[in-house]
């Protein structure tokens, strides 16, 4: 293992002060939060209803933000016939995001009217580390001639991969909202609030909730990635989400990405609802499970450092025939760790889901896979193509999801709102909106 291997790992880098500057600011009671990463397991007793994550900044919150225990993806049809409609929708969403992530007393109405709030969090909303992240699907642009020219270059409708068995009712959408919070109640409350507040412009298409297990590490122990429903630590090799300059390359759209100006600071989001055949998995020998992933089950250490830690990077070059880490193991196919494959890094921030029982009597459980990247073709699509045919496929079945483009962030105060740069790019008065206004020639920073 060389230093170079560590450089792309979230564990390897000391967290500099600069790293926090562009990340959505987390106002936690404990300072420990500052060293946490996107896919670290939430710590028992560390989460507070008063935890507040600012929604403001150059990027939306909920992407590099350390993942709380609960999350949900909700996908909507959008009703917007012109730029003014779309702006109205974005402004209304922004209003709700500000209210919901801040907390505070719920307005009281005449009791002869339906209450303004579902009430499930009580009369005073608590922020509970809520983040609300909004992404746009290809259909939003493609179905509207006036919006078509502003479509992010790499945004496409999710196509079927080899092992997929997609269910139409669980796929795609004009607009997606990712909700994350410490508790499930806060997530549900936020969804109910948004559905109730914007009934004429957002029609729910599908939603999937998930969560990750909370852990109780001994004092001073390094952070651990949360386990998925196959019992493995998931997130170990993620790029360091606290490293702002790495995130600028891996996650955030910038000048290098050949995207419309308005998209600067946004990010591509791949969502996949992936069923796990957990009964069969639980009947698979441990060594085989570990060979399928290329990591050990208990610690997440790579197979070439079986007594090491999940923070260690495997050295595939030293094992060209896959004697230790099989060539078709999940981690080796997903990231062969060649100089070229650095271009395909993604930030994974998934949740586990549990939906009840399938028709065949087996458990309907799986991974609400969510990953973020500055270019979805180089990121998720390339990685998934590499994974096509992996032995893990025997145990997983992708059934839903979609690709979305998460809007750039918005600033506190002023007249800023989520999606303002997109709306400005559509306006006939904005400079050259039909041509160079939508190119990267004048990247904002």
């Amino acid at each position: 293992m060389t230093n170079d291997h560590l450089r792309t790992s979230r564990r390897g880098l000391f967290l500099g002060a600069a790293a926090l500057a562009t990340a959505p600011r987390l106002v936690f009671a404990s300072t420990e939060a500052e060293t946490r990463h996107a896919a670290d397991a939430p710590i028992e007793d560390a989460a507070r209803l008063s935890d507040r994550i600012q929604p403001y900044g150059p990027h939306q919150a909920g992407i590099t933000t350390p993942r709380p225990a609960n999350g949900m993806i909700a996908s909507f049809h959008v009703l917007a016939d012109n730029p003014a409609d779309l702006e109205r929708l974005f402004r209304r969403l922004t209003d709700r995001i500000i209210v919901l992530t801040k907390g505070g007393p719920v307005p009281e109405l005449d009791p002869k009217l339906p209450p303004s709030d579902s009430g499930i969090l009580g009369p005073v909303l608590t922020p509970d580390a809520l983040t609300v992240t909004v992404g746009l699907g290809a259909s939003l642009f493609e179905d509207r001639p006036w919006l078509q020219p502003a479509k992010p270059r790499a945004l496409v409708r999710m196509a079927q991969f080899r092992n997929d068995a997609l269910i139409a009712d669980l796929c795609h959408g004009d607009l997606v909202i990712q909700l994350c919070a410490n508790t499930q109640d806060t997530v549900i409350h936020a969804l109910r609030d948004i559905v109730k507040s914007i009934p004429d412009q957002l029609v729910l298409k599908w939603a999937q909730a998930g969560n990750v297990p909370v852990i109780s590490p001994p004092p001073g122990a390094p952070p651990e990635s949360a386990r998925n429903l196959l019992g493995f630590r998931d997130g170990s090799a993620n790029p360091d989400s606290a490293d702002a300059s790495l995130m600028d390359t891996v996650v955030w759209v910038g000048p290098a990405n050949d995207e419309p100006d308005w998209a600067t600071g946004g990010s591509y989001m791949a969502v996949r609802i992936i069923r796990n055949n957990v009964e069969r998995w639980d009947r698979t020998p441990l060594l085989e499970q570990e060979r399928i992933f290329g990591r050990t089950k208990i610690t997440g250490a790579p197979l070439d450092h079986p007594h090491g830690t999940e923070a260690m990077a495997p050295d595939f070059a030293a094992d060209p025939h896959g004697k230790v880490t099989p060539l078709d193991s999940h981690i080796r196919m997903a990231n062969p760790r060649t100089p070229a494959s650095k271009a395909n890094l993604i930030l994974r921030r998934p949740f586990n889901y549990v939906n009840g029982v399938l028709k065949n009597g087996q458990l309907d459980q799986g991974l609400l896979f969510i990953c973020w990247q500055a270019d979805i073709e180089k990121g998720f699509i390339t990685v998934q193509r590499r994974l096509d045919g992996e032995p893990l496929e025997e145990y997983i079945k992708p059934v839903g999801g979609g690709y979305f483009f998460a809007l750039p962030g918005f600033a506190e105060g002023g007249d800023d709102f989520l999606g303002r740069t997109l709306i400005a790019a559509l306006s006939p008065t904005s400079q050259d909106s039909s041509q160079s206004g939508l190119s990267t020639s004048q990247a904002q920073n």
């Binding site: 009703l79 339906p114 009934p199 004429d200 029609v203």
Partner: protein, 269 residues
């Protein structure tokens, strides 16, 4: 339809309702609504007679043709009709309401006949179901006649009809064998709009923005449905484009939100 036991509630509301109406100038609208409901109920009985006759004479095509227009009257007055939960179940329940679904011997009413007509293209075995349907519809007529109309139920009915559409119609589950859902839509919307029109003068001055928004959403529904008119009625629900389904859903959800405040706006509990 809704499977809640609303009969008891109806009695309760009937007892407290009438003074509220006097204080709120609702006497006029409520009695006009009662007239509307009784007209529609008469038409329902009349049309059901013809529908049942067609079923009983084995005329599948005629029965199919009469199914949707007959139901439409029921859908129009659903907020009142469903106050009698026993009859609502008997007239308008769906296969999902029964453990054995279509195979359940207790599955009655319009949708049981719809199932036979469309899925089996036959009236076989439907006579007892049809006769019972007619008896129930006649029973409904009698009960509605002697029902005092509580204003909160009348006004609340505008929203109830939207909830009905949102919960069971938009998915195309209501008339799943015949796909005549758009007729039901039309009945529910007209029933709701009737109520809004009747009370509109009472809120127009105080809340013009509300009235404008409600009217706009009804207009969206009207223009969207108009695209699917055919003959005296509508094309089958599967012809509805995804885009128009979403448009209807958004208008229905927005109306359901807005109309849920109508009772409160009129000072009714």
């Amino acid at each position: 339809m809704r499977m809640f036991a609303l009969t008891a509630v109806a009695g309760l509301l009937a007892a407290t309702g009438s003074q509220a109406a006097e204080t709120l100038d609702l006497v006029g609208p409520v009695s006009e609504y009662k007239l509307f409901v009784s007209e529609q109920t008469d038409l329902l009985v009349e049309d059901t007679e013809a529908f049942v006759a067609a079923v009983n004479s084995g005329d599948v095509e005629k029965a199919k043709a009469l199914f949707a227009p007959t139901r439409q009257h029921y859908e129009m007055i659903e907020p009142i009709a469903e106050l009698f939960s026993d009859l609502d179940v008997a007239i308008d329940s769906r296969a999902d309401d029964y453990e054995k679904a279509e195979a359940d011997p207790d599955f009655p009413g319009f949708h049981r006949i719809e199932y036979g007509l469309w899925e089996h293209n036959s009236t076989e075995g439907l006579t007892p179901v049809a006769d019972q349907l007619l008896a129930n519809v006649q029973d409904l007529q009698g009960r509605i006649e002697s029902l005092p109309f509580p204003p909160e139920v009348v006004v609340g009915g505008a929203a109830v009809l939207m909830e009905e559409v949102a919960a069971t119609k938009i998915s195309g589950e209501e008339d799943r064998y015949s796909h005549t859902d758009l007729w039901d839509f039309k009945g529910n919307f007209d029933g709701s709009q009737k109520i809004v029109e009747l009370v509109k003068p009472l809120i127009a001055d105080q809340d013009p923005a509300f009235v404008r928004q409600v009217d706009a959403n009804f207009a969206v529904i009207d223009t969207t449905l108009a695209k699917y008119e055919e003959g005296e009625g509508y094309v089958t629900y599967d012809k509805l484009t995804e885009q128009d389904r979403v448009k209807l859903a958004a208008a229905v959800n927005a109306l359901a939100e807005d109309l849920s405040t109508l009772r409160g706006k009129l000072g009714l509990d």
